[in-house]
Every structure is written in structure tokens, then in C-alpha cells.
Amino acid sequence: MEDFVDAFFNLDIIRRASPILWSGLLQTLLLAVTVVPVGAVGGVLLGLLTSSPNKTVRRSFALWTDFFRGVPPLVLLVFIYAGLPFAGLDTGAWGAVVIGFLLNTSAYYGEILRAGIESVPRGQVEAARSTGLTATKTMGLVVLPQAVRNVLPDLVSNTLEVVKLTSIASVVAMPELLFQARQAQNATYNASPIVAAAIAYFIMLWPVVRLISRLENKVLVARR
């Protein structure tokens, strides 16, 4: 039992590792507040494009969305970071992360929003257009707000996944939480820093998990 505590909950080691764990946590937060908005903006754009009345536009971007939902994000990130330089395009670690997450995350947000847009009854658009609202204003003022509301639990769930996914930035040597925890583990031959990182993730994301449950309950109640 003592060995177990020593290997996973060694407070002394965690205390010594805490400065770099802390910096890792900040880096993870910085990553999250960068890639979530980037992915969300891209997602709105993709959601609109895959809902386009133009068949060619709609189908092309549906294919695009499928592709980037199908490619593993880790593979995508490594390709951008280590593959593109061969084509003379060196993005650096931040560049690779931003581009990789833009491509991956926007595809997921986009697909969720497309489903949301589709869930808004046709009569809503007709009512708005019959008053003289333009197609753009109808989308922005009538359709999108309802679409977002209809898929809010999915959007928040996806955001949770994206924050967790920021740990893949460690493969491009970005000193985020997991990366720092592994550095500390390697230096101390002890897994406690990893456990500390897991706890940090949990504390950070638990409120979001609760929020999702509450939103889902609300949707269930509203459907009744």
C-alpha cells in the first residue's frame, strides 16, 4: 500500500514538480482559449457552407468535413508539423497546432451546426423571408440562434473533447500539461506528476461535464 501511494501519490514529488506542472496547466489553458474559438469560427463557416442551397458548395464541404473528421487529429498534427516542411512550409509548433485544430475541430463543430440548422423548421425561414428579411439576416437572426440552442449540449460536449485533445500538442514539443507531467515523471522516475495532471484536468473540466448534464436534462424536459 505504501509502495502504491509512493508511486502514484507522492506528495513530495508533486510539490517539487508543481512549478512546471503549473506552467503546463497555463500552457494548456492558453491552447484551449486559442483553439476553441478558432475551431468554433471555422465550424460556423463550415456549418453554413454545408447548409448552402447550392448543391456543389454543399457537397464539396460535406466531403471536406467528412475527411477531417475521419483523419486522426494526431496524424494530422504530425503531418503539418513534420511533413509540410518538406514542401517548404514550416509552420512551427504553434502554427501546426492552430492549423491542425482548425481543420479538425471546425469539422466537428461544423457537422453539429449543420444538424442544428437542419433541425429548424422550413416555416421559420418562410416567415422571416415573407417579412422582407434578407437570406443572410434570416440565417443570423432566426435560424442560427435556434440551431445553436437545439444542439447546445453537443457543442459543449465537443468543446470538452477539444480541451482534452490539446494534450496532443505535446507531440510537437509544446510544453502543455501532459508534456510537463511526463518531463517530471522522467526526471523523478515516479508517476505521481501524471496523476497530478489527471486531477488538474478533472478539476478544470468537471464544471463543464456538469453543465453538459444539465443542458441535456433541459433538452429532455423541453422535448416532453
Partner: protein, 246 residues
């Protein structure tokens, strides 16, 4: 007819193989209430939806106040702000209050500032008897109240004409009266209206002219007394007999 607001001529419309409107004409004069009746699938809704181009006619001409609105270069949004429409299923925006539903187009189509839009919306909601429901969400209103908000949304734009597509068909019988009363008041105030509906008693009492449609054609039209009391066409007779039985 010089005072004709809408003058639709030879409107043809098909959906794929299905010919829904077969060269229909419709005149609507200022302050007139035109009632359109006919069996299900005869093209009543399609005709109404062609008048504000929610449905694009295949051919024909629609003049509104003398201007051809089927031309490609016409600003259809400018035309639509002068044609109100009320739908069978209300189609209120569920994420906005009654007031929000009415002010949306006032602000974002007419460009009124918030205060002016709200003042005008309040007046419209008052006209439909809902001054005490302005901040209710559609989900908190009865069907009859929702439809009256929808009417307020249409008339707040001060349109030249309002199109009603079966405004009471989705309502419980006890709620129909309140909506018909609002429509009657509108008519009194001189609003030009085109109404598709099965409310025959209302047609007899309020319509200036009844148009009977079948299979995408206008079979006959005339004052309610003659269409209901003395229909010429046998399909009109059959239809009216069937309706009266209910």
C-alpha cells in the same frame, strides 16, 4: 381596374411532373377581402405563395401597384415588406417574445430604431388584443394567441395586403373565434386581404368576393351570396355541399 393592388395573370406553376397552377388569374382591389376556397391539393397555398414569391411561378405576370414583381431585377425583399403573410402553423420565432417577433422586421427590414419599433409593435399587439402578453414567449401562448401575434407581426409592417393561408385550421375550435374577430376588425379598418380558409360562415359574412379553385384552375368567382347560394359549376356545388355537411 385602376385601383387593383394585385393583378396576377396566367400563373403557371408545376412541381416536377405535377402541374399545380394552370394559368390562373387573380385580381385584388384596394380594401377588398378575397376568399379562396377549393378542395385539398387544388393549389390554393401555392397560388398565395406565388404572390410573394415564396414559390417562384414558372410563367405569368404579377403586378403589384402596377409594378411587375416577377422580373429578375426586382428587389423581392422590398416587395415582400408590403405583402404580409400569415401561416397555418403560425411560424412564430420560438426564441423571441411576442414583442421580439413583431419588432424583428421593423428593426432589420425597415431599419427603425428600437424605441420606434417597439412603439409600433405594441400598437400592433394591442390591435390584436394582446397588449398584456407582449413579453410572453410563443410557447407560453395558446394557439389563438400565437396566431394573433403572427397577424400583429404582419400588420406592423403596414403592408398593402395581407395573405392568410388557413389561419384557423391548426386551432382548437374554441380558439378560432378570437382570430376571426381580429380578421374582421382588420377588414373594418380597410385592410386588403386574401384569405384561404374553410371558414364558410366567415366568408359569407366578411368576403367581398369568393374564388373557387379546383385542379389548379379558377372555376368561378363572385360575391359570397352567389357562390354559396347559386354556384354555377357542378364542382363548386359538390364542394359547397360537402363543406356544409360538416
Amino acid at each position: 381596374m385602376a385601383d387593383s393592388i394585385i393583378s396576377a395573370r396566367a400563373i403557371w406553376k408545376s412541381f416536377g411532373e405535377l402541374s399545380v397552377l394552370k394559368g390562373i388569374d387573380l385580381e385584388v382591389a384596394e380594401k377588398e377581402l378575397v376568399f379562396v376556397i377549393g378542395p385539398s391539393g387544388s393549389g390554393k397555398s401555392t397560388l398565395l405563395r406565388c404572390l410573394n414569391r415564396l414559390e417562384e411561378p414558372d410563367s405569368g405576370s404579377i403586378r403589384m401597384d402596377g409594378t411587375e414583381i416577377l422580373e429578375k431585377k426586382v428587389d423581392i425583399n422590398a416587395v415582400r415588406r408590403r405583402i404580409g403573410m400569415v401561416f397555418q402553423s403560425f411560424n412564430l420565432y420560438p426564441h423571441m417574445s411576442a414583442l421580439g417577433n413583431v419588432t424583428l422586421a421593423l428593426r432589420h427590414v425597415l431599419g427603425l430604431p428600437r424605441d420606434a419599433a417597439e412603439a409600433r409593435a405594441l400598437a400592433a399587439l394591442e390591435r390584436v388584443g394582446l397588449a398584456d402578453r407582449v413579453s410572453h414567449m410563443p410557447g407560453q401562448l395558446s394557439g389563438g394567441q400565437q396566431q394573433r401575434v403572427a397577424i400583429a407581426r404582419a400588420i406592423a409592417m403596414e403592408p398593402r395586403v395581407v395573405l392568410f393561408d388557413e389561419p384557423t385550421s391548426a386551432l382548437d375550435p374554441e380558439l378560432v373565434g378570437s382570430v376571426l374577430q381580429v380578421m374582421r376588425d382588420l377588414r373594418e379598418s380597410g385592410m386588403t386581404m386574401v384569405v384561404v380558409s374553410h371558414e364558410m360562415a366567415f366568408a359569407r359574412a366578411a368576403a367581398d368576393r369568393v374564388v373557387f379553385m379546383a385542379d389548379g384552375e379558377k372555376l368561378e368567382e363572385g360575391p359570397p351570396a352567389s357562390i354559396f347560394g347559386n354556384p354555377r359549376h357542378e364542382r363548386t356545388q359538390a364542394f359547397i355541399r360537402q363543406i356544409e355537411r360538416h
